[in-house]
């Protein structure tokens, strides 16, 4: 029991253990709820809810009328679960801290401006959500959830993400000793 608790409190697990846990979780989601894991869909539901509360005319478009009505969806509950799970994990391992910048590496490349980081995250997040929408899912919703059924799209998506992500990272990190 003591070793179990010590393990739960550890700051880092092997990524293999984390991956197997997510694989088993996705099997449970299929088995118990006939659902696939995903993260990008929740933002569509939430964005629709917010827009609707501001003015119903904002959700008067094809997507919210015919594809997915705004609402508290399965994906939103899943996302809340992700936040809580990460929170408990971080609290137990004393990794929880209010942070405005990443712990490592960011400053060496981009400097310590919080504004710069937040603006870059904001614009990147727009690209991430839009790209996930076009592709049919994100790293969890398409790569992992598609991968568990060997959907070709899962592997094509990951390959495409590396085709832009790698040159960009190598360019940003050219001459940086980190």
């Amino acid at each position: 029991m003591r070793t179990v608790i010590a393990y739960l409190r550890r700051k880092r697990w092997s990524p293999y253990v984390g991956g197997v846990l997510v694989g088993l979780t996705s099997v449970a989601a299929i088995g118990f709820a006939h659902q696939l894991l995903g993260a990008s869909g929740a933002f569509e539901n939430l964005a629709g809810l917010i827009e609707k509360s501001i003015s119903p005319s904002l959700v008067d478009n094809f997507y919210f009328k015919y594809i997915q009505a705004p609402g508290i969806s399965w994906q939103i509950y899943l996302s809340i679960g992700v936040i809580v799970g990460a929170f408990v994990s971080a609290i137990l391992s004393r990794d929880f801290r209010w942070r405005v910048l990443p712990d490592r590496q960011w400053r060496e490349v981009f400097g310590s401006s919080v504004l710069k980081r937040w603006l870059l995250v904001y614009f990147s997040a727009i690209l991430l959500e839009y790209g996930a929408g076009i592709a049919g899912g994100c790293t969890s919703g398409l790569a992992i959830s598609g991968g568990v059924a060997l959907a070709p799209s899962a592997f094509i998506f990951v390959g495409a993400a590396f085709m832009t992500g790698t040159p960009l990272a190598l360019f940003l990190y050219r001459r940086k000793g980190v």
Partner: protein, 187 residues
């Protein structure tokens, strides 16, 4: 229970696993694109291999029916992936790891990240008819799996796929390739 209990539990496990594996940190994500830290690949391929075997076992036992396989429409999968890669490499996060980062107290994930995802979601919904509906029709193969696409034997394909994943892991561990400094467990 099914409306919110299950997704809360599954989400909890997912977020826990992401945080424990360190993927809620910027350096873990950006370093996979630099091939300096392969934790993301180890995590993702372990999840896919485990999920693949488990899913087809529960289906074979008659305990579950497979939900629609994620659709393959080549142009959209590629263009979406290209856009996604830029954002992921620049910010060092993706939708799932952003939520996990928010849970560990990273305000740069929660505030500009959350607002950016919502903005992207609004843009996607507003342009759905003009953009997505066209791109989805190009080279669309529907909800196919590799099994159906190439008419492969299911269990043999699963076996070969898992073998390939295990071989990849063996080679990564043996060579030490991509075992980045941020894999240091004490940090």
């Amino acid at each position: 229970m099914t409306a919110y209990g299950y997704p809360l539990i599954f989400g909890f496990l997912f977020g826990w696993a992401l945080q424990k594996s360190g993927l809620s940190h910027y350096d873990k994500i950006v370093n996979v694109f630099r091939f300096k830290d392969m934790a993301v690949i180890k995590f993702m391929m372990s999840a896919i291999a485990t999920g693949l075997v488990g899913t087809y076992i529960v289906i074979a036992l008659g305990w579950a029916v497979l939900p629609d396989v994620r659709a393959t429409y080549l142009l959209g999968n590629v263009v979406g992936g290209l856009i996604f890669g830029v954002g992921m490499s620049l910010a060092g996060l993706c939708p799932g790891t952003m939520l996990a980062g928010a849970g560990q107290g990273s305000l740069d994930y929660l505030i500009p990240g959350g607002l950016g995802f919502l903005t992207g979601a609004v843009l996607f919904a507003d342009t759905y008819e003009q953009v997505y509906q066209h791109i989805v029709t190009v080279w669309n193969f529907g909800n196919v799996s590799l099994f159906g696409w190439f008419d492969l034997n299911q269990w043999l394909t699963i076996f070969v796929f898992v073998e390939f994943v295990l071989l990849l892991f063996y080679l990564l561990e043996k060579s030490g390739f991509g075992r980045g400094p941020s894999d240091d467990l004490s940090r």
